[in-house]
Symmetry: D2
Subunit: 467 residues, 4 copies
């Protein structure tokens, strides 16, 4: 099975040393991947430090050789269990005919198995399980045929189907490119002594820089300390911005393709009230991701907002463990209801999304045990019915609660008094983009491009697909 990953990428071209900036930037992107972290800095050659763990663990202690480089890239990564290995950590470096190439990738190449087979059949051999290695080898191959880097990237893009926001270090040059549908975010900014590219705008701000703009879907850029050059842009009619970045994945302070995620979530909260009002005493968020949504709900409804569930910040590491059992075990530790707040009350719990439903079920139980009279759930994302194949880590389809269940059945299963999801229309409206410019695959089962092994579900096949 191809790996599904969630990642964050970062590239910097500066006139002054960048080690600290890479650390700061990657810590700001840490929520995008807590499994491994790494950087590659150019100082005469590519020098890399990477490993399993948080940025604060893996990228905390550096040798002298890392302190002078002014050009480099960084990466944070989360993956499903199968790919949880240091050999898949990034940046990944190869030496090629034109020098060293290091890559950091966020996204998922849908046709990676076909590509891998095709390349192996032509005599290539791979050292990791990642699509990133396929990409960097394809680029190295085009480079050896005397193409420029930008052209080599473009030729590789023509072979790749999927989502990708990529930073590439070629000797001392930083390149960045984004898939033609713009599925994963990527934006550029200016810092004191140069330019940066990062998965989220807030990372640029936190590094002390100013956001310039999003990288265009299909665009290939290069960064130098003096300027950013846009080499080419592959146009498509529609885009496919990932709705889940707005709903849950990106930081609340990230502005993705022109839209602030916090505002989207706040707006969804209002929609939730408009679409399904009810009689209740307090609105309680499921922290942290349900907070903005719950505040919007409270504001629209005038029902008081109360923090009735206290989150333990010190168990968040358990998210790293990809085994389901371990997740279950710690939910009651992570969220403790305050009896004094919920006792005797009609409670509206607002959550960002429901995937398996296990967490929701346990929260409802504990809030009831703490004395709540009624527990209603409002969800800021429509029912998730199909996995993401394009860069968000999700469980397999049969672990979802939503497919093949009515809302009543879900309500019963979770044990709530009512469960209401925001509608797809309400969600799209809250984001404020055209429905055809969003990837809604996980809630509509209609993906913006063909997915290997999903043919039977009415997708175009990979062979038929044309960019």
């Amino acid at each position: 099975m191809p790996l599904r990953e969630a990642c964050g990428v970062l590239g910097i071209a500066s006139k002054s040393p960048i080690l600290n900036l890479l650390q700061v930037g990657l810590r700001a992107l840490q929520h995008r991947g807590q499994e491994s972290a790494g950087i590659t800095i150019f100082d005469k050659e590519h020098i890399t430090q990477k490993g399993m763990g948080l940025v604060s663990e893996v990228l905390d202690d550096f040798g002298e050789e890392f302190t002078k480089g002014t050009i480099g890239i960084g990466h944070v990564r989360y993956s499903t269990a199968g790919g949880s290995s240091v050999k898949n950590a990034q940046p990944m470096t190869v030496s090629s005919a034109t020098g060293e190439l290091s890559i950091g990738h966020n996204g998922n190449i849908s046709n990676q198995e076909l590509l891998r087979e095709e390349k192996e059949n032509s005599g290539w051999a791979f050292m990791s399980d990642t699509d990133s290695e396929i990409i960097v080898r394809m680029i190295a191959n085009y480079l050896s045929k005397n193409h420029t880097i930008a052209k080599s990237i473009q030729l590789a893009m023509e072979e790749m189907i999927g989502s990708y926001s990529i930073v590439l270090l070629h000797n001392d040059e930083v390149y960045a490119f984004r898939d033609p549908l713009g599925i994963k975010p990527l934006c550029i900014g200016q810092i004191k002594d140069g330019y940066v590219v990062a998965s989220e705008s807030s990372a640029i701000e936190i590094m002390g820089g100013n956001v310039i703009r999003d990288v265009e879907p299909g665009e290939i850029l290069s960064l130098s300390p003096e300027k950013i050059i846009s080499h080419s842009t592959t146009n498509t009619d529609n885009k496919a911005f990932c709705m889940f970045e707005y709903v849950y994945f990106a930081r609340p302070d990230a502005k993705i393709d022109g839209v602030l995620t916090y505002s989207v979530r706040h707006q969804i909260g209002k929609k939730l009230w408009d679409e399904a009002p009810l009689d209740a005493d307090i609105v309680v968020p499921v922290p942290d991701s349900g907070i903005a949504c719950a505040l919007g709900f409270s504001e629209a409804s005038n029902i008081p907002y109360r923090e009735g569930l206290i989150k333990n910040r010190y168990v968040h590491r358990s998210f790293i463990q990809p085994v389901n059992e371990q997740r279950k075990a710690t939910i009651s530790e992570k969220l403790n209801p305050i009896k004094e707040i919920v006792e005797g009350k009609k409670v509206v719990l607002v959550d960002d999304s429901i995937v398996r439903g296990n967490t929701s079920k346990r929260i409802v139980q504990s809030v009831r045990k703490a004395g709540a009279k009624e527990v209603h759930i409002r969800v800021g994302c429509p029912p998730i019915i199909s996995p993401c194949f394009l860069g968000i880590d999700m469980p397999s389809r049969d672990e979802f609660i939503a497919p093949n269940r009515t809302t009543e059945e879900i309500t019963k299963e979770i044990g709530a008094d009512s469960v209401e999801y925001v509608t797809i229309g309400g969600l799209v409206e809250s984001i404020g983009k055209d429905e055809h410019d969003l990837c809604l695959g996980c809630i509509t089962e209609k993906y913006p491009l063909p997915i290997e092994g999903e043919r039977q579900r009415g997708q175009a096949t990979l062979e038929e697909f044309e960019i």
Copy 2:
């Protein structure tokens, strides 16, 4: 200099194995100390695992020998730089005439230097720098003179001046005792197969137990799987419950000596509005500790509550580093203002307390840079003018911003449009206890008991002090 520590303690007597309960309970107390963690379990003898780091790091992987014990204690600890060493980690174990004794201590013994000198002069020798070692040796000494454990504890308490909430494992018996003024919290609860004692009530709930009551100030208890026995209680006229536990230190879901800290903080928010109303567009909390207060302020004032500062959860580990420089470096990373929310607005920032003022200054700067028209600060704790000598880790007096500055000077120093602190009266009223039953030393410079080296400031000396 005697060590100042902030800690959390836990004791369990059960009929079934407790390793997992100790882990769960200590993770729920992790906010009380992130520097070291440890447990001692009785299984024929005292077996201990402890080390520098979080519970999830130090107490994650255990040998077979830890899995069967049903009686034990646990500890988390934070200390100032000087004492940051594994030799000071707890529980600390000694073998004595009557068997093994292990101790976990939250608090600070004010006369520890006098006691230490006195004991060394009578031929004792110490292996650590902690007051906990003095306490456990005193108890061992009384035990060798054929006193019962409860009597030995009582005799040791008669020698000790200071704050202490202590769990003590003597062979297979768990004892707990609290200083006569009740400075540090301690409460007892019932779990499925036995009884527990913990620094905060929420830890008991998260362990699946029911809170019974707080340990009385001056009370000595023993726990068995079948019952709790109260051996004696040393009465004093007034108590001295630490106000800072309510304002900042304890979890929002902790009920300390009958009062929920979340409610206190929410109430303080309302007081802040009542005491100093103003014209503003939005109320923004300094997360996480200012949130309850900000919500109270918003509710009282009807000024909309907005999360305009986004906290990066992945840099919290920097709190462990006791060096000031390192703290400064990461503040801008920790809190990022959302431009779209604060731009052009009159902003009220609500924080739980101001110690040095560095953080506040930097936040004001960043919120202004993000476009705020005005930045007003409201603080949920009166000006801190004197260090805590009784169990809360604070910087030294000359690092505080408040002493020798008027509110106007502080406003100017921080760069805000206005700064208002809750009054001492307002604070006391929000807590809902008699002023004479609170320790307000850090805001009044009047401590409930004599402090070594603080004589010149009008305190009773240690020699004059009588319990």
Copy 3:
């Protein structure tokens, strides 16, 4: 059960920094203990680094604070399984009425259980399982009663029965003392900028120093960069130098109490031939400890010396593992016979000693399998029939092969064509000391002082024993 330990100690008083000297000296003593290693250096206060592992692992990487001190002590340690814990690692430090005291101890206190019980009954409490803690606490106690250090040491020595060669750091002063029977070795030397005391003379030479003399049995010394002062010497009629140091334990280049161990071993080899000549083709040592003995045998007999067993240097770490099973598993890996050398030959295998007999049995098997016509064993130490209670780690009595077996039975058990041990007389003659000045406890069952629990075997009891 009291711990039995084998250890090496080192003390230095210099005018220049000693960190490197401590490392060099402890590596030269590493064979005396591979389980834990540690140093304590005085630089305003006692600073210690210690841990489980070899010197090259534990004492390889130091903070800046260790680089300036010019006074300090070091220790390497091996112990039986029960005491294998970092809490028993040395040096061990206490703070006392007169300052800090750190101790490094080689030997074993026979009355440690009585002393421990007595001290606990008078109110003391212990943090480790070692006799070293008892010793250092006794000295601290006498110091608090205004005795000088030398007097305090002497008073403690009057309470202690057993073997001990000890280095003691009291603030910035190094003291050394040796038990009245001189059981364990200890010698003093001069280095470039000061003086040293070490378990073996070769350590002093390897540190670039000159050996001055052995510490006298019962002598108390202090070292300063300028001189050595001998404070007092407790005389006894006879000494009890450990014969096993000569036979096996000390380095071949160590001169202990005037006698070079290599010469003793070479001489024993000659005795073995004299006492039991035979017809053979080649003499093969069991490396490394049988080499000197085998060379002596070859020289006396004119039978050619051949290295027919090749030792793998990379499995020596297995000696650290105190479990018998693990030892067995690696013997065939450790010693590989060379077929070309032993095939068709009458082979004399020379070993330093036989304890359990397992190793010998396996070696005979493998040498036979490689084609030897006959395999005769010659042993440089008389049959070991009783455990050492005075500082050499040995298995318990019932694991020995020699008790209750005739030489013929042993020969059969091991599977050799003949087995001959050097006689006690031959051993004593080879060492060249009076039999009454040697501890021969393990081969005669007669110990030079009473051993706890050995009363039934005809020993004086501890109570009857007078120094």
Copy 4:
């Protein structure tokens, strides 16, 4: 600069689990490389554990998944500083058109830079700096063109110039092949449940197996639990067995291409006496590598053999540190002269070889300081005047002592009374092979095949070279 490495390889095909056998075998080969170690076992897929350090450190603790596989390979490695990185550790695995390929390589490919450049120019990209990656990719490439494995190996061998003894795991099949000149050793044996291939015969014996024969130069073999198949052998007129394996590198109990290294060394000792007799009192080996040679010298000369230099076994780890300064620092620690043995004597020191001369110089100094009257050096290898480019790690040419110095100048430089090397003729005779079947490059500057960058010294160029 291409990496120069010294390594050991091991391959096993068995019917029962092999994890323990791999550990035992690699420990027996540990002397061939102490920098990194690794194994790859087939169990449905290739699973690898490798890292920097000794076998006992890196390959000590395994997950369950390693315990069932019955087919696998192993590797130990030492390299010069430049390549000291875990990314160069072996086995190295790639996935190819026909499945997984893992390689373990001992030797050095002389034309690796040309090959690398050629392959990069055709679009390949590399992840490590090793020639092993080039080899495995070439084989993978031929496999994708529908060649059999044996044929693919043969085609790759036609492109490679240099020394190589290689184990290759292709899915569940073990292959082994050796360069046409047989420069590095490799032999095969039978174990209880299958077959093995290993760098040295003694590893097979220690694993409990029987040695069958050496792999022929140029031979390609495959191993299964049932049999060994020889696929093809590339013949050349002469061989080029590395003389340094006999003189120093291999274990004394290794039989390489029919000759026992211990016998060669013993014989060289006799030659040294025959070629340059002298008047002396004792023969002292430089342990450990000079021992066999010194025994031969003593036997031929009738001058008594004495172990006058004692080696500290616990500093051997310093050999891992590739920096010259560190080597110097520990020589005096490693070898301590026994004064009682050398004092007043005419001493013959016998060493296996002299490279830089630093060690010899220091030993002469220390033996003189210990009182030797005369110090003569005899060396079991002719003067080393040119680096090894074929698999033995040596310093660069300008660090050697021998080039451009007469024996008199070397004697003076080292400070000895005389220095005599065995002659090339004497060496060849001691090995017992035809001079044209030995690689004597390091002592004659005439290599058996062209070396990149050595053209100016009269070598055939790589282009001219024909296998």
